[in-house]
Subunit: 129 residues, 2 copies
DNA sequence: TACGTTACTTCTAAAAAGCAAGCATTATGG
DNA sequence: CCATAATGCTTGCTTTTTAGAAGTAACGTA
């Protein structure tokens, strides 16, 4: 049980998601249909605006999210998941599964958990669409 | 597509693994058979000793790793994955899969990747044993 | 052309991480 | 039974990162 230590996939993951906020932004887009700056900020998680700006840049730079003008709304931008970002679904499903299993305080909708454990592939496809 | 915002599983994950080092320690135990302080420290990743000590405490506190005396070796301790820690295998497999797919610089043994994509369940069981 | 909305940037203080050094505990060799 | 070495930390200081409040810039609307 081993793999090449150079170009480690775990380190790559950590270079993008090794902080308290980046994965929450992905979660917000994926599950909560948040898509612009104000929505991320007022999500109640308490991210400071300076860190939010830097995380959005970071995620865009690494190709996880895209940024485009919202035609109908002044200076507003729309942040969305790229394909690379959507394909985080598999990881996120596993995180949800694991947390639900080991943390008493974690609450996940029963529908979601049973879908996850019965047919994860189908759930993933739904999440990525 | 939604789940209850309270007791969020992603936040639980981040409370344990939302930093640059914790997941690397798990990787070291899982794949590199490292199991004591000196081995983690000299792994070449550059973790500072004070942070290493705090991360090991943290992981132990959250039930990811266990700490026991090495009977044969002076003051040495053995750090090992608990069941909860071993069950991170599913998440880690997905991270490896994703990184390999999207990062050119990431290198994973071909055997591992093909095992992962052909029969992830079997690989997981192997990893957890 | 003033005003609200949105998306940031800037500044300062607090917290965390990095780094070098030192200390404590447990063998081990003389 | 005392000096030495190996291991696992702890401590104190410096540097980097984050938090929080405030301010600015771009855009559309009245």
């Amino acid at each position: 049980m081993n793999y090449d230590p150079y170009g480690c996939p775990i380190r790559y993951w950590l270079s993008i998601f090794g902080d308290k906020w980046s994965l929450l932004i992905v979660r917000d887009i994926m599950f909560k249909e948040r898509q612009n700056y104000g929505q991320f900020q007022s999500a109640g998680e308490g991210i400071s605006t300076s860190v939010l700006a830097s995380r959005l840049n970071h995620l865009e730079k690494y190709g996880i999210i895209s940024k485009s003008h919202d035609e109908d709304h002044g200076k507003r931008y729309i942040y969305a998941l790229t394909d690379k970002g959507k394909e985080l679904a598999g990881i996120i499903i596993n995180i949800i599964d694991w947390s639900e299993k080991f943390d008493e305080k974690t609450l996940v909708e029963e529908n979601f958990i049973s879908a996850l454990r019965k047919n994860p592939e189908a759930l993933m496809k739904k999440m990525m669409s």
